[in-house]
């Protein structure tokens, strides 16, 4: 009888391979470090709360869901990210500490076959996403008032795991600019952690109900086994019951 599990590639092998790759990528390391320059980091959660009014045709999130307009070779998605900036706050960006909300939309290209149709990734069973632009607006509730601004950059579903069959990490980078009288700008970089299910053997197992993040950087809270961080109740959307992606972002000026 044919297995209905879909992916057959050992997730352990993928995790190990990916860990080796990202382990040598200093730009992605957001663990605690000495204060230098003007930076600030935060952990955000991708919610699906913005989905209802804007779901069609934009989907519900760059990491969670999206729509695929015929013949365009791209996935369109929208997302709302909420969290707090305050990790490794240094220099001028210390004043950016506080709750942050980001509304963003992305246009991600995907790999196509010879006929121009989307290629289905054998490891994930999903359309094989590559990279594309992301832009949006953010608002930070700082101790001295609200700071609003925009961001423009690139989301890359492949960069952190070159050669790996699938990647539970998405890199983001680009520029940000605040609005208002004290207009300022800088760059940002980040990593999104996409939750996935595993069984007791560490293999991908859709429907097992055991959800994990792959976090070789050690930045995500929660019960951890090596690079795997198990989702807790707080990591599931309270309304929808769906697991939520985490996004660690660092602003630099």
């Amino acid at each position: 009888m044919k297995s209905h599990r879909g992916p057959t590639i050992s997730w352990k092998r993928l995790v190990v391979a990916t860990a080796l790759v990202v382990g040598v990528m200093p730009a992605a390391n957001v663990a605690a470090q000495e204060c230098s320059g003007n930076t600030i980091t935060g952990v955000l959660t991708e919610t699906m709360e913005s989905a209802p009014a804007h779901a069609a045709p934009g989907g519900t999130g760059p990491l969670a869901a999206g729509s695929y307009p015929p013949g365009q070779g791209v996935r369109l998605a929208q997302a709302t990210e909420k969290g707090t900036l305050g990790i490794n706050a240094c220099g001028t960006l210390t004043s950016f500490a506080g709750p942050i909300t980001v509304h963003a939309q992305s246009t991600i290209s995907y790999t196509t076959d010879g006929n121009g149709d989307p290629l289905i990734n054998p490891a994930t069973g999903l359309v094989d996403l590559t990279s594309g632009p992301i832009n949006g607006a953010f608002k930070i509730n700082t101790a001295t008032g609200n700071v609003s601004g925009t961001l423009d950059g690139t989301l890359d579903f492949k960069a952190l795991c070159p050669g790996a069959p699938a990647c539970p990490l998405v890199s983001a980078s680009g520029t940000w600019t605040t609005k208002g009288q004290n207009k300022t700008s800088g760059t940002f970089s980040g990593v999104a952690f996409v939750p996935f299910e595993i069984d007791q053997s560490g293999n991908p197992s859709a429907g097992s109900g055991v959800w994990v993040y792959f976090d070789p950087f050690g930045v995500l809270p929660g019960p951890r086994m090596g690079p795997l961080v198990f989702l807790t109740d707080a990591d599931f959307n309270q309304q929808h019951g769906t697991p939520e992606a985490k996004f660690v972002i660092t602003l630099v000026q």
Partner: protein, 105 residues
């Protein structure tokens, strides 16, 4: 900073969830249509988890498209599919993948 701006709020409807198991084929399509129809009738926003689907033929795709159309007629209607490889391949080969919103989780 806009201290004069009033609070903003939006009403959030719950996203219903339906998990389908086994084959979505000619032999089961009647039951699948019934299940989807029942949920769509009561839920304008529905996540259909297809990770445990073992087969999907034209009748199964047709049932999903019918649900998609029904949801599309609702205000703020949303149907999100969570496919596995079998489903993704079937949607791709039937050239219907662009008709759906897909969830990667």
């Amino acid at each position: 900073m806009n201290a004069m701006a009033g609070p903003q709020a939006e009403t959030l409807e719950t996203l219903g969830r339906l998990r389908l198991h086994g084959p979505l084929t000619a032999g089961t399509s009647r039951r699948v249509r019934q299940l989807l129809g029942d949920h769509v009738d009561h839920q304008a926003r529905l996540l259909v988890d297809l990770q445990a689907v073992t087969a999907l033929d034209a009748t199964g795709v047709a049932a999903l498209l019918q649900a998609q159309r029904a949801v599309g007629r609702r205000e703020h209607g949303l149907l999100v599919l969570r496919p596995n490889r079998i489903v993704s391949d079937a949607l791709k080969h039937s050239r219907t993948i662009s008709a759906f919103v897909l969830w990667n989780g």
